[in-house]
Amino acid sequence: MWVSSKIIRTALAVLSLGVATTSAQAAMVNFTVTGTVLVGEESGSGNDYLLSAGDTITAYGTFDDSALVGGTGSVLFGLGSGNSLTISAGTATLLASMDQNYDVDIGFGYFPQLVFDAGLLVDFDTLMVYGQNGAPADFDSYFLGFSDFGSMYGEWNPNVQITAVPVPAAIWLLGSGLLGLAGVARRRK
């Protein structure tokens, strides 16, 4: 009797914890931004990324969307933000930690950062300098333009794909198992 009651209470506690965890995770979102190269290899000199006009680069990761109010606000990816950002540009992979100000606050927070206005991306700010913080090449982006300070230049698409981070299946499996356990315990009572 006491045991079954305890099982039920435990099951409910675990379930509520699972729901709470789910709610907290709902603020974390996946995002993907694509950029199109407008000028690249065809301009004459080779660029660091071996990209040509028409090629696509992608930035993706996760961030806490509580930073946005009505789709407007700034999302920082610097040290301690809990957000993640990866840029896949040609043969190179650039990480948020490679930004020159990833762990240096220059009065405007830690970079990189994305700035949204009514759901549209208006500023993608990151500065990676070859050799600093492990950056494999120069990469500069502000407003919606990105470049390698050389022959490559492109623009980010202001429409960012944002999706909720899926709740791990294990949470639901654990919850249903506990619910079943609670049901069995109640029947035995």
């Binding site: 000028v39 500065l127 120069d138 500069d140 502000y142 407003f143 333009g145 470049s147 390698d148 230049y153």
Partner: protein
């Protein structure tokens, strides 16, 4: 003989007096002119404004030529005249011709003027420390990032073939003038934006 000698002396003195007098007259005439000795309206530095907004040509003559700012900055410029010029200036009118503004390393003042000439330019001042001017017909733009330590400027013109792209990192570690260079670009773009009322 004595008479001849006296005559020569008299003539010499008269010659000196006449020469001195002419020089004096000449100096008086020079004093009536501008420091470079050229009549203001004949110098031509303001000629490009003859077809511009009425009034600008006169203000230009008053500001540039009368003070000879195109050659020697001898007198302090009249800020009031310059203010009147800026007040009267409309989209498409050039800057005061005799003011040599420092140029942004990414985009020249002439390129900025060309962007605003068709009246289709627009500026974005929404982002802190960043300013961009875009000309929508056809697509070309100039922008500046003045964030300390991240200073950079760009100019893209898709009308040229091949497309013109200038992208510079001003915040060079070995160069302590990054902020100044960025400010020059910001001021140049800002002036272009103001010229189109933005």
């Amino acid at each position: 003989m004595k008479l001849v000698k006296s005559l020569i002396q008299t003539l010499a003195v008269a010659g000196i007096v006449v020469f001195a007098g002419m020089t004096g007259v000449s100096s008086s005439a020079m004093a009536m002119m501008t420091p470079d000795g050229e009549t203001p309206a004949n110098e031509g530095v303001c000629d490009g404004l003859k077809g511009a907004t009425p009034g600008l040509y006169g203000l230009c003559v008053a500001y540039c030529e009368a003070q000879d700012l195109d050659t020697i900055d001898k007198e302090p410029p009249s800020e009031k005249i310059l203010a009147n010029y800026e007040k009267k200036r409309q989209a498409g009118d050039p800057d005061m011709p005799c003011i040599q503004k420092p140029e942004c390393s990414c985009v020249s003042n002439a390129e900025l003027s060309a962007m605003t000439a068709d009246g289709m330019g627009s500026c974005n001042r929404l982002i802190t420390n960043k300013l961009t001017i875009t000309d929508n017909g056809p697509l070309n733009f100039a922008d500046i990032n003045t964030t300390p330590g991240r200073e950079a400027c760009r100019f893209v013109d898709t009308e040229t073939s091949p497309i013109t792209v200038r992208s510079q990192r001003l915040a060079d570690d070995a160069d302590s003038t990054a902020a100044q260079k960025a400010e020059v670009c910001r001021a140049a773009i800002d002036a272009a934006c103001l010229a189109i009322g933005q």
